[in-house]
Symmetry: C2
Amino acid sequence: METARIEDIWDVIVVGAGFAGLKAAFELKKAGKQVLVLEARDRVGGRSKAGEIHGQTIDLGGQWVGPQQKLLLAQAKELGVKTYSQFTTGASLVSRDGSVQSYHSNIPKLPIISLLEIARLERRWNKEAKTLPVGKPWLAEKAMRWDAETVESWILKNVRTHAAQDFIRAIVGALFCCNASQLSYLFFLEYFRQGQGLEVLISTKGGAQQDKFVGGAWQISKLIADQLQDHLILNSPVLAIEQDVDHVRVDCQTRSFKAKKMIIATPPVLASRIDYVPALPIKREKLLQSMAMGAVIKVHLAYAKAFWREQQFNGAVVSTDRAVSIVFDQSPEDQNHGVLLGLIEGDHAIALSALDVETRRQRVIADITYYFGQQAAHPLEYIEQDWLTEEWSQGGYVAHMPPGVMTSYGDCIREPFGHIHWAGTETATEWSGYLDGALQSGIRAAKEIINTY
Amino acid sequence: METARIEDIWDVIVVGAGFAGLKAAFELKKAGKQVLVLEARDRVGGRSKAGEIHGQTIDLGGQWVGPQQKLLLAQAKELGVKTYSQFTTGASLVSRDGSVQSYHSNIPKLPIISLLEIARLERRWNKEAKTLPVGKPWLAEKAMRWDAETVESWILKNVRTHAAQDFIRAIVGALFCCNASQLSYLFFLEYFRQGQGLEVLISTKGGAQQDKFVGGAWQISKLIADQLQDHLILNSPVLAIEQDVDHVRVDCQTRSFKAKKMIIATPPVLASRIDYVPALPIKREKLLQSMAMGAVIKVHLAYAKAFWREQQFNGAVVSTDRAVSIVFDQSPEDQNHGVLLGLIEGDHAIALSALDVETRRQRVIADITYYFGQQAAHPLEYIEQDWLTEEWSQGGYVAHMPPGVMTSYGDCIREPFGHIHWAGTETATEWSGYLDGALQSGIRAAKEIINTY
């Protein structure tokens, strides 16, 4: 590869212009450092992304914020991005075992014995999650035991009612975009600790899906990026990183850059594909290779009006038997028209990703029509975002750990390697997997550098 | 990247000159095809590799052959490579819970109740393995259930005695070079089916470690490669593969090649790092990303004589409490001197890989001395092969599947993608993980191409 002449030595190079990388760069700039951000895509935002349906700007990626996510709320406030509530007036729907029912709480309508069981399990998860040392879940007394278990094997051993089993599987799909059989029970508990329990994680009011950003969450990354001015280069995938005693050289396809320190703020699998000299420590390499990104396709459907509201439905669906497993109302605030968003996760996403767009569109509309009736059969517009085919995400929302990964490799997740520090929502200690966790990780990585040189 | 002029259109390009790729190329050549093999390393052999200790040629990688491995035996015979028996005269040693004991069977000396339990478990595994359809374990009646379980969670649920639990963990280490918590129980059963049961897999006499090749197993790859003459290019990592209707273009750093068909015969993680246009099907991408290579360091120690033989030991050790968990006699047939080989696996390998070579050497010698006494304390020579730091292997012996991988993505493991066919020991249906399985996969992939055009 031809490398351009290295003209400047930056204080810090940040790889990845998602929420984590941008926040890190911003904090470093504020501390007087010369920072350069390199982004593989032709846009900033990472797993947040702007889209449009029927004239309305929408989030094709991460979008919600809960009252517990104080970093994200503060960031939005600082940038002048306002929030509004997720629409929740009316009944939600649950689709399972071939029928659709409505309900009015955070937990779908299930047989009473299953609801009692879920309440008991929730108490148990909260109790177990409390035993995980903050930032060091691998040190919990029962860490080895929990990390040997998949959530699915845990379900089969500990959950008695069919409906509760399916409910937990649906939660895993909704939170991690993978199968319960692919997920470490220790990782599941750590997520609950970070997200303050099941109720907060899955709820709208009072929970992680309470509010949305007027104009979209993607704006936050855009507005931070604007402040970095010309210290951000798009379309520049990093191919190789070479460290010596004093510096790190970062090679893109046609240019190289040099810095004293750097922060890698990409999804784990992408970080593992960079060519490092010297090579990454084996444990770090194993960690990056082992963390699998979830599988998710986000769809939006626009209608002339939000007809479900007239039927006293809030537009929310949880499904355990159809491909579109989560649905929310995404209608514009002025209610000029109606919009539903749907999430297709895990194996459903992988199967639907392989179809042509027209077949996939029909499958999605069939599911939405199954939930809401014939009025849903002819959307004015259909927009889809397949995160699986995004080369620089490799899936979404977040990378998870299969069993035996956290206890074997997890303790190096934030450990710098020479001049390289690590950010990204996967490295957060609160709200990992969320935009808020991405911000936290950026702040932490920036601090590591500011404090040490 | 500068690409050279594409001068020829090959019938088939094979990526990877390990046993699988070389065998595939050889079969295609025999069928009259014009074949080109591209190899990233400066040598052929893949996970087999020549080394030398004290003037004796040794295998730094795969080396054994069992009477069931008929393809490998036939291949060696055809090439004139002779076999000889693994030395087994005398007692083996087992190191567990801080003490070393000798024993004379395939199963280490354990409390009788644990031995009875292991015998019972072995019958169960054989029975369960028999229910796996050949080449399609994901279709077994209980596939979902078994694939949701790690071997460790299965142990904790099904194995009562401490010694039997440790024994199974040691087997997982010895066969897969990973922790029991990282391995799908379904994958574990499939391995047993492919390897004809526990007894065959772990035994010397009558089993997979019965014989070795005079001069080393690596010669087999060398001798096949010799027959391909100048149709093999070393030092040529494949960076990108682009397919159109009729052809596939393969880009290396400075040259490109064109063919009608191709076979990729690399470890899964390396195949996942090639840049494909069009992109790999998501399911294939997920499969390649999810299969984790085991972690192994192979060491050899040379002594003036095989002193353990004089003490009526055969040189074999199985350990559940030290880093060097497997030891075998590797003395030359003429017995001019003595050689022991040791295997360090899983987390032990990852920990020792991070040390400097002198500290690692001392740790290894300390373990060998712990097993065999002070006579082992001063080897004449110490040779190590860390497969974790081999860029073009990324570990060894074989990639395994964590839970939920086989049932979600496994069914595409041998499914061609356009002009691309897949080989490598991981794709074998008998003796996957072994040199024999590599040969089988090469023959099968070559046949797919020969039969279809």
